[in-house]
Amino acid sequence: MTPRPPLGERAPLLKMSHVEKTFRGDIVALRDMNLTVNEGDFISLLGPSGCGKSTALRLISGLMTPTSGKIDWTGGQSKDDLGVVFQEPTLMPWARVVDNVWLPFRLRGVSYNEVKDQVLEALKLVGLEKFQRAFPRELSGGMKMRVSIARALVTRPRLILMDEPFAALDEITRHKLNNDLLALREAIGCTVIFVTHSVFESVFLSDRIVVMAARPGRVIREVQVTAPYPRDEAFRTSAAYAAHCREASEALHDAIGVAA
């Protein structure tokens, strides 16, 4: 993998221009969103509930179409470009761990034997190669989320969308998964858009934080976290981390203040 170029020198992956989403004619979920996602970015969408961050993800994933504006993928988009992780692990309870991870390939008509190596490699990346024959109910919440992540990255997509994936987990598990997610990203070099309402999580993970406000949902400001990767536990207690948290926190307060 080639080293990631610094912010500002990355090739664009997709561009959202003047994207708006209105529900039932008058409820504005998202107003005039402009965002360029570059190859290698780790972008967090940070904001209070109702700020349209999940709507933005659904628009990018194609589950919704914008009311106006457009989303353009550089060089077009194919089905292989996307991996998605939801707030819930969203595994098929009747299928073993391997079969859950195989799903994206299976839906393309690719047999298990053809992609066995990739499936096992993905499980290895999330540290669950020993649990491939287990059923989801036999796993803890954190482990289920790892399976979900393995499934999202098994096809090596160009972009992974994560919708508050760790919100339902306890703090300790969440920190561990944050560290592992960054290690994964270093290993496979994907682009991530990560929805969260935690300032600390967004600063630890991302190099770009897009702060959003509610009613109507819109982008308020972008905060750049210039601290270099790889980031480890020491980063959580560093002065740089604290400074970035303050900056993001203030931006978020502005967002809430504007909304109220």
Binding site: S61, L63, F86, L103, R108, F135, R137
Partner: protein, 287 residues
């Protein structure tokens, strides 16, 4: 010696005693699960026997358990083929109910138009008592076995249809979104998402339908009669009542109940085998 130490010791002792008590309770429960119903049965049979002998109840009013047992053995040559016939009718009706119920459920969930057009008629077919329809079926369907099968099918298919329809619609929304993102075809969505989601619901319907198929078969035999269907358990029972052969009547009745219990046990076993690995309903939890 500190207070903490003392409390620790007594705590472990309590835990041990609690464990022991729990273990004892569990064993008692295990034994009681079989012995209590058996005891009830023995006492009932005894009371029945004493009532019949002490008050000298005539056998055409209430036959004693010994007479019933005797008839069961004596008439086995009549009862066994009758049971086979009723069993065949029931199983066939159940199989057709599964095919019809699941088929219609898939059609209903795949096409809103089909559901809107035909679901009300499925309900009407279900709520109209089969006893009321059976004579008509007998008139219009020449083959009496087919007529009886149709009666049993009408009673049995609805719980499968209704449960499977709900099941097919109950797939997790996020999983459904995921299938959309990965560009799943209609068939893939049905095969890999809707069908497994519907399985627990379908199996719940199957348990009900198994019992209903037997009831449907018995009703059909009653209404359509031996002339057409041949001598099943229900027609044997009816005939025995006409001849005041109450020993045989009771023997037939017991066999019908046994069939019902066997069918229920079979359906429960199928359900368990299909679900025990993954579904909440089949999980045993430590208490």
């Amino acid at each position: 010696m500190s207070i903490a130490e003392t409390s620790q010791i007594s705590e472990t002792e309590t835990v041990d005693q609690e464990e022991l008590a729990r273990y004892r309770r569990e064993r008692m429960m295990k034994i009681a699960r079989w012995t209590l119903p058996s005891l009830v049965m023995i006492l009932t049979l005894l009371a029945w026997h004493l009532y019949v002998t002490i008050w000298e109840v005539p056998h055409y009013v209430l036959p004693g358990p010994t007479l019933v047992a005797q008839k069961m053995v004596e008439d086995w040559a009549v009862l066994w083929p009758a049971m086979i016939l009723t069993g065949r009718l029931t199983i066939l009706a159940l199989i057709l109910a599964v095919l019809g119920g699941v088929g219609l459920a898939v059609a209903f969930t795949q096409s809103k138009w089909a559901e809107m057009s035909f679901f009300p008629y499925a309900v009407i077919l279900q709520v109209t008592p089969v006893v009321a329809i059976a004579p008509l079926i007998q008139i219009y369907v020449d083959n009496a076995f087919v007529a009886a099968l149709l009666c049993a099918w009408i009673v049995a298919f609805f719980p499968i249809l209704s449960n499977t329809t709900i099941g097919l619609k109950s797939a997790d929304h996020n999983l459904s979104d995921l299938f959309t993102i990965y560009g799943a075809t209609r068939w893939q969505r049905l095969r890999y998402l809707a069908a497994p989601s519907a399985l627990p619901f379908f199996l719940g319907g199957l348990k009900i339908a198994g019992g209903l198929a037997l009831i449907g078969a018995v009703v059909a035999e009653f209404v359509i009669g031996r002339a057409g269907t041949g001598l099943g358990l229900a027609s044997t029972l009816l005939e025995a009542s006409y001849r005041f052969n109450f020993g045989r009547l009771y023997a037939a009745l017991i066999l019908i109940s046994v069939m019902g219990v066997v069918i229920f046990a079979l359906m429960s076993l199928i359900s368990y085998l299909a679900l025990f690995r993954w579904h909440e309903s089949a999980l045993k939890r430590e208490k």
